[in-house]
Structure formats: structure tokens, C-alpha cells
């Protein structure tokens, strides 16, 4: 059965190349699913860059983005690890 995330598998056929951390790999592959919160965060970053007061921050948008990625990665991650 085709395993869509086979390229995040840590038992790599490229044995000579250093190991790929499956979590980082899956987070990258989940980015397309979470484009909306990512764009919100990037818009916030732009707004904060111009800020002089030092009170503005993008924690909310950051949390929204990473919550989306975590939800996507969570069910898939352990399948890539040794049981």
C-alpha cells in the first residue's frame, strides 16, 4: 500500500546520508495544509517589524500556525518511528 510520507521514513535507503528527523520532515510536509495561519503570521511579522514600542508580538498567530501543524503531524509521526 502506498505510504505517502515514505520520504520522511527514518529507515532511509540513503544509508550514507545523515539521518532525517521525521518530525521536522513531517512539519515541512504539513506546511501546505496550514498556509492560512502561516500567511496571517507573516502579515503580523511585517506589522511588528515597524513597531517602536516593543510591546507588539505575534504569539497568537504563531500559536495558531503551530497548532495547525501539530494537528497535522500528530497522528502521522509515530508511524515513522521505530515501534
Amino acid at each position: 500500500m502506498f505510504h505517502p510520507t515514505i520520504w520522511c521514513d527514518s529507515d532511509d535507503y540513503r544509508a550514507d546520508v545523515e539521518v532525517v528527523d521525521p518530525k521536522k520532515c513531517l512539519e515541512e510536509s504539513c506546511k501546505p495544509k496550514c498556509v492560512k495561519p502561516l500567511l496571517e503570521y507573516q502579515a503580523c511579522v511585517k506589522r511588528v517589524q515597524g513597531d517602536e514600542s516593543g510591546h507588539k508580538h505575534c504569539t497568537g498567530q504563531y500559536f495558531d500556525y503551530w497548532q495547525c501543524v501539530d494537528k497535522c503531524v500528530g497522528p502521522k509521526l509515530f508511524a515513522e518511528l521505530k515501534w
Binding site: S10, E18, C44
Partner: protein, 307 residues
């Protein structure tokens, strides 16, 4: 003004009977209106002021609140989660190796003894050999002196610091907690510890962490004293499994879960057995109860009318 209106409404609801209440009601309401006339303006203004302040402060508190609670960790599908699932003991063995090589320099596990590992992660000989590698203070001997000896199975896992003060001093004021019960001592412990260990990221724009602390979104407040400890291939596993960050995280959390709940497997077996047996007993009891009550429940009462 506001207070008087509210009191009028309460009185209107309480004094329900129309005939009696009307003169009373009007008297009472006129009395309260009279009392409130002078102070009502001040009270209303005070209430309004309090409300506005509350709303304003709430908006700034809400944004700080998110970081305060930390990012919610996702639920990972742990192999030992099921109702009849046991621990992955190979994972516990690897996790102990990670603990020993990465975590034990700062975190104690003072409730675990070497003998607890026998039959779970190591054979008796392996555990004895591991215990013998450490030096333990024992005594007093016959001369009244304390002496050091190699460890035995009955000894606890060694502590990195003599006491909490020493631990804090060596870690910039922060105390690396004992890990014996950590997965039970934190909300959603297993998922939280895994998310924390593998979740070190760059802080969001606008957040700066002071020197000596590190950003971790899962840690309440966001600034944790512990640096990122799990890095790819930090440990070379005995069984040759590639030691990626996620793999080490999973294994060490399996080990910590076992350490906090070593009785889990027996508990699940016992639970399954007794729930099954008690369900049968419940069916039997229900049948017996209905059998005994059937006499009363099938009574017929005849009302005999005397003409």
C-alpha cells in the same frame, strides 16, 4: 440610577400578588428611589468606570494569557494507549539509555531503583553491571565511618546534585525537576513532555528571551531554562535504531511513562478481568432481583365496593 432600576425589577418579581402588593410596592420603590437619588449618579459612574477598566485590562491580559498557558500539545498515538496495550519494552530500554546519557547529568529519578529495571528493560546481570558502575555512600561501618562502595540492585538511581540548592546554583536558579513521576505530574504529561522536548523553535516576532533562557512554546510562559537537549544522533542506540530527535523523544517518554506508572500493564489486565466478571455478576444480580420482586410486581389489587 442603575441600582434603583434593578431593585425595582427585583421587587416587581417578588411581590407577585397584585391586590396586596400595589401599595407596598409603590411605597418600597419610592423609598429606594429616594435613597438612591443622591448616590445613584456616583454609583452608576463608578460601575461604568469599573466595567471599562475591566474590558481594557482583559484585552491585554488575553494576549499574555496564551503564552502563559503555553501552546496546547497535540495527542500522539502512544503504542501503550489502548485498553489492553502494554508498554513497548524495547522503547523503554532505549529511553533509559537516553535518560542516562542526556538527562541524568541534571535530572534525578530518585524513586527508581536498579532492581525496578530488571525484567522491564534489562536482565538481572545487565542491571547489576549498571549498578556496579556507580559509587554509593554507605555506612556507618564498625568504626563509625561512612564509606563508599559500588552500587547494588537495591540502590536508587544516582542523583546529580546533593540537594535542591546545589541544583539551582548549577542551573542559574532553575531547579531541574525529578523525573520519576513527571508524566503524571504534568497535565497530559506524556504528550506534553514529548512536545516540549521536540518543540524548541525560534520565538515569534516581537518576543525576545533573556540570556540564559530558551524559547519553547509549550512551556508555560515560553521561557524555559533547559536548552534543547535532543539533537539528532546525540545517542548511539545499542540496537542500531537511528537516533533521530523524534525517536529519542518517543523513547525517553516511554521510559518516563513506565517510571511513573510501572503498574500499568497489571492494572489494565486486572481492570479488564474484573470489569468483565462484575458485568456478569450485574446480570446475575439483576435477574435475581427481578425474580424476587416478581411476586410483588405481579400483585393485583381489587377495590371491593360495598353497595
Amino acid at each position: 440610577m442603575v441600582g434603583g432600576g434593578v431593585i425595582q425589577q427585583i421587587l416587581r418579581r417578588k411581590l407577585h400578588s397584585p391586590s396586596l402588593a400595589t401599595p407596598v410596592r409603590s411605597w418600597l420603590s419610592s423609598k429606594t428611589a429616594h435613597v438612591d437619588a443622591g448616590s445613584s449618579g456616583v454609583r452608576a459612574f463608578a460601575l461604568l468606570g469599573a466595567g471599562v477598566t475591566g474590558l481594557l485590562s482583559f484585552s491585554t491580559v488575553a494576549s499574555a494569557d496564551e503564552a502563559e498557558h503555553g501552546l496546547a500539545c497535540p495527542d500522539y498515538p502512544w503504542p501503550h494507549d489502548g485498553i489492553l496495550s502494554s508498554y513497548d519494552h524495547a522503547s523503554i530500554r532505549r529511553g533509559h539509555q537516553v535518560y542516562q546519557q542526556v538527562c541524568a547529568s541534571c535530572h534525578s529519578m530518585s524513586l527508581i531503583s536498579y532492581r525496578d529495571l530488571v525484567g522491564v528493560a534489562y536482565t538481572e546481570e545487565e542491571a547489576k553491571a549498571m549498578a556496579a558502575e556507580i559509587e554509593v555512600v554507605d555506612g556507618p561501618n564498625d568504626e563509625g565511618e561512612m564509606f563508599t562502595r559500588p552500587g547494588k540492585l537495591s540502590d536508587r538511581l544516582p542523583q546529580p546534585y546533593a540537594n535542591e540548592s546545589a541544583a539551582r546554583f548549577a542551573n542559574g536558579g532553575a531547579y531541574p525537576p525529578d523525573l520519576s513521576l513527571i508524566t503524571k505530574a504534568r497535565h497530559n504529561g506524556q504528550n506534553y513532555v514529548f512536545a516540549l522536548l521536540t518543540g524548541y523553535r525560534d520565538p515569534p516576532a516581537g518576543i525576545s528571551i533573556r540570556e540564559g533562557l530558551h524559547y519553547n512554546p509549550y512551556f508555560p510562559g515560553g521561557a524555559i531554562a533547559m536548552p534543547k537537549m535532543l539533537n539528532d544522533e546525540a545517542v548511539e542506540y545499542e540496537d542500531g535504531v537511528p537516533a533521530t530527535e523524534a525517536q529519542m523523544g518517543k523513547d525517553v517518554v516511554s521510559f518516563l511513562s513506565w517510571a511513573a506508572e510501572p503498574e500499568m500493564e497489571e492494572r489494565k489486565l486486572m481492570g479488564f478481568k474484573w470489569i468483565f466478571l462484575l458485568s456478569l455478576a450485574l446480570l446475575q444480580a439483576a435477574y435475581y432481583r427481578r425474580l424476587k420482586w416478581s411476586v410483588l410486581k405481579s400483585r393485583k389489587l381489587v377495590l371491593d365496593v360495598v353497595n
